[in-house]
Amino acid sequence: MITTGKVTKYFGNTEALKNISFEINQGEIVGFLGPNGAGKTTLMRILTCYLPPTSGKASVCGYDIIKNSLRVRKNVGYLPETPPLYPNMTVYEYLKFAAQLKDIPTQQIRIHIDRVLEECHLTKVQRKTIQTLSKGYKQRVGIAQAIIHNPAVLILDEPTSGLDPVQILQVRNLIKGLEQKRTVILSTHILSEIEQMAQRVIIIKSGRIITDRLLKDLLTSSLEKEKYILRIQGQRQTVEKALQAIENLSLINFCSESLILHQVEVEIPPTKGIKNFLIKNILQSGCQMEEIRASKPSLEEVFLKLISEEER
């Protein structure tokens, strides 16, 4: 569906993207992740034919972004970082203008506008001028514009930035509702958003791809140590001793709930049967195990680790 081969982009002498290669299949939802200035927007602009790459090739739906630019644009819906709206147009006029520019036959324009108004919950405000709308509505008008021609590929640049939590939820649900058969690329620096929406993550830093993996693989395998939260009954000193006796275990947090009940956070390299091993060791020391649970790493931890590893 989308392929890039060694895409490189220079702005003057500044290298914005370096050898970006990936392939995205139909129906995938991919999150672009990276610190500010990493090149996410530049990459999206290249895929939407707004900027040409300095070198390298890219194609969307089988069409080359340079040679078949109009065809590519017909198949892509794009929401830039700031929604591209004309403040003095009404929502309806704007969507009509977008529909006309996106080659929708005149007889069908009304149907398509009604559909996106419904999908983006904009029916109530369709006669309002865009400048009077709140940020959340503006963002939804931006999304409506991007999906009005039923594109096969949807590229969204930070679709939820600057919205309040309720609006974020609405926009997120909206994007989730769109997914059927559609390829979606979205960038954001709100990591929980990627966790909830994307299946695959491409992490970009300083114009390079540092990771391109499925989200679930990324979360399980990229940390060398597993984290466990234990609740142990026993004298504090005994518990501490028991934990210190375990090889390779590092104590992160020790919190006493009462004199004889402690909540402990530990890290240990993942090996087979590690959970049983922990339980056995604690019980042997004369303490009692109330609870043991693995604490899954958040994408945030993985992200920070990958980014800082690169820096080293």
């Binding site: 939407t48 707004y50 644009r73 794009y78 929604p83 591209p84 004309y86 520019l101």
Partner: protein, 236 residues
């Protein structure tokens, strides 16, 4: 073709959604009316030649105000990215934008056509001469708008756009005043570049091919430059 029209109509309606259209219309029409009355009263001739000259002078100042936002505003608010990522060719965008301003300019001229009917009511003006005069002022406006379109495509700043078109238009309009300080080839060049030497005959009702070529090629040249300028992505 359809998209050129869509963009042009959107552009035209955007003029009327901001106060700029009403301000420009009020100012130009008021000034034209005053001068029409003064000129007719003084000359006692059933011709619009001198009225055209006043219009020409006014348009040198008014057109950059009309055109300064055409592309610079799109760049500023980010809608250029929207336009250029829809399946619309750059040529259609440029021509649509140009067409919108040209339509607005044509509306101003159409309103001023009242002067012809006033003359017709009181006297017997030379209809063809007035029509040719209108053709002249329309072509001149088309050329000025192309200049404004071009300067608007360089920058996000409307003031910069307006100032740069003033520079170009002043060179075209006022250069003839300095012609006596030059001689030889330079004098000829200034004479040819100056809009005065081309509008004079048209306003008097005379069609000369070289005058038409001057305005049409000038407009074409600046539209082409605009097309190249928005293509040049380093400027974005």
């Amino acid at each position: 073709m359809r998209k050129i029209l869509v963009i042009a109509i959107k552009e035209l309606s955007s003029y009327f959604k901001s106060p700029i259209a009403y301000i420009v219309l009020t100012i130009t029409i008021t000034v034209f009316n005053i001068f029409f009355f003064m000129i007719i009263e003084q000359n006692r001739e059933a011709t619009l030649r001198d009225v055209f000259k006043v219009m020409e002078f006014m348009f040198v100042f008014i057109i950059p105000i009309l055109t300064m936002k055409i592309l610079s505003e799109e760049k500023l608010i980010g809608t250029m990215e929207f336009l250029m990522t829809t399946p619309t060719s750059n040529t259609a965008i440029v021509l649509g934008k140009y067409g919108g301003s040209l339509l607005f300019f044509t509306i101003i001229l159409l309103i001023s056509s009242v002067y012809y009917f006033i003359l017709e009511y009181f006297a017997h003006p030379d209809r063809m001469a007035i029509l040719v005069g209108y053709l002249g002022i329309w072509l001149e406006g088309a050329f000025f708008i192309a200049v404004g379109l071009f300067t608007s495509s360089w920058t996000r700043n409307q003031i910069v756009a307006a100032m740069s078109s003033y520079v170009i238009l002043f060179l075209c309009y006022f250069s003839i005043s300095f012609i006596k300080y030059f001689s030889g080839l330079l004098q000829e060049v200034i004479h040819y570049v100056s809009v005065w030497s081309h509008t004079e005959r048209l306003f008097a009702g005379l069609i000369v091919t070289s005058d038409l070529v001057y305005f049409l090629s000038g407009a074409f040249f600046f539209i082409l430059l605009t097309r190249l300028s928005i293509e040049n992505r380093l400027w974005r």
